[in-house]
Symmetry: C2
Subunit: 212 residues, 2 copies
DNA sequence: CGGTTAATTGAACGCATTCAACACGAGTGG
DNA sequence: CCACTCGTGTTGAATGCGTTCAATTAACCG
């Protein structure tokens, strides 16, 4: 899996800051990058692997915030501390910079612009997530999820780095329902699963219509 | 209703830009401030009244994004155009500034910071909204909604500027379910509704526990 | 190969929706 | 003042979608 498209040719000030000031860490599968309620004083960029953010409610229910692929920035959060934890879904290489270090670098203007831009990307995802959770049925949620992954990995066969539980917790459903919807979509020949962690879209139109 | 608390003593660069460059408009009840898919080239600040943002899916389902009260900024959206429309819930006075005008004013640094800050506030709301929609039942959603309103209007009696349909579309429920939950909460003496558009919290602890 | 975890499938249940009827409130006109 | 209407909100009964609980199958790894 290459995902070279995730690194745009023109690097933003934030990307440059990562390149120059970032310390590279590797995080093992299922290890935590930062915990819920940790201080949010760093930015992170995925170099390889996939990161998942999630939040646990007091009574143990889990909501996953999003999944971050190579080239994507995470850890941008509104408050002084993280409302969502971040964990490595697969073994990950991650670049980290302290926020204060980023500020000192390259003059504030460009950096602030870049941070704002990254924050906007994050916001767009959140808006999409709200639409998904608010007014869509299980079929549509699952279809939308698969579409989203396929757009990020425009290869013929898309792999699912996350398990069913993670999908379910992202979609606000249960593993059973997710599983049922997947077999249903497969039964209608809209998608095909050669293995549980790998799929292929056979009817883009149909999937798109569902994901709407 | 005063809501003076919504205007902090120390004005941000954005607030100052509004004060100096903003043109004031008044929008009648149910009139549109901007439409879905309009170009997003302005910032807005509510002076009086309440604004609602909402998005319509292709097949007519509606999701309400949020409600904005006096002192709050809206219209900050990630992309070049609005994914959510904005409408006046009540008659509103709104200050408007072009984004380009804001940039030209006061040097980029402070303005960018202020915009970033406002964007973060918006992001926080979106995160909260995702949590609400993803892993909460109808009771909890309604309770959480009432809590949110009560926190913004720390008076004894809180009024609901929006109708049941708006609440439902914000919460991802139907009007009937919202209504049932309200009567249920009232039956348990957690809240009291002297009229349909006005309520009072009788058991903060119980409501808080539900909203968690 | 077992042994273990993850994923699928089945059946019963429950919560929210749907569809329908009724109540309430505000505004209008007799 | 009452009668009438229209919009909005509430309540009831039946349906359905997703969940829950339980059992089976598939994938992974020693």
């Amino acid at each position: 899996m290459t995902l070279t498209h995730a690194f745009p040719a023109d690097e933003s000030a934030l990307d440059q800051a990562f390149d120059r000031l970032g310390t590279r860490i590797t995080v093992a599968r299922d290890e935590e990058v930062y915990a819920q309620d940790d201080e949010a004083d760093r930015f992170y960029r995925v170099m390889s692997g996939v990161v998942r953010t999630s939040r646990l409610t007091a009574d143990g229910r889990r909501q996953v915030g999003d999944f971050y692929y190579a080239g994507e920035v995470f850890g941008l959060e509104p408050g002084p501390d993280h409302r969502f934890a971040a964990e490595a879904l697969t073994e990950c290489e991650i670049q980290v910079v302290r926020r204060s270090a980023v500020r000192a670098f390259a003059g504030d203007v460009e950096v602030d612009r870049a941070i704002l831009e990254a924050t906007r990307v994050e916001m767009e995802r959140l808006q999409e997530h709200v639409m998904l959770l608010g007014r869509k049925g299980a079929r549509e949620r699952v279809a939308g999820f698969l579409m989203g992954l396929a757009q990020r990995q425009p290869e013929d066969h898309v792999d699912l780095p996350m398990g069913r539980q993670d999908m379910a917790d992202y979609l606000g459903l249960t593993i059973e329902t997710v599983s049922r919807m997947l077999t249903q979509l497969q039964g209608e020949a809209i998608v095909a699963f050669p293995s549980t962690r790998r799929f292929h879209i056979r009817k883009w139109g149909a999937l798109e219509a569902l994901a709407a």
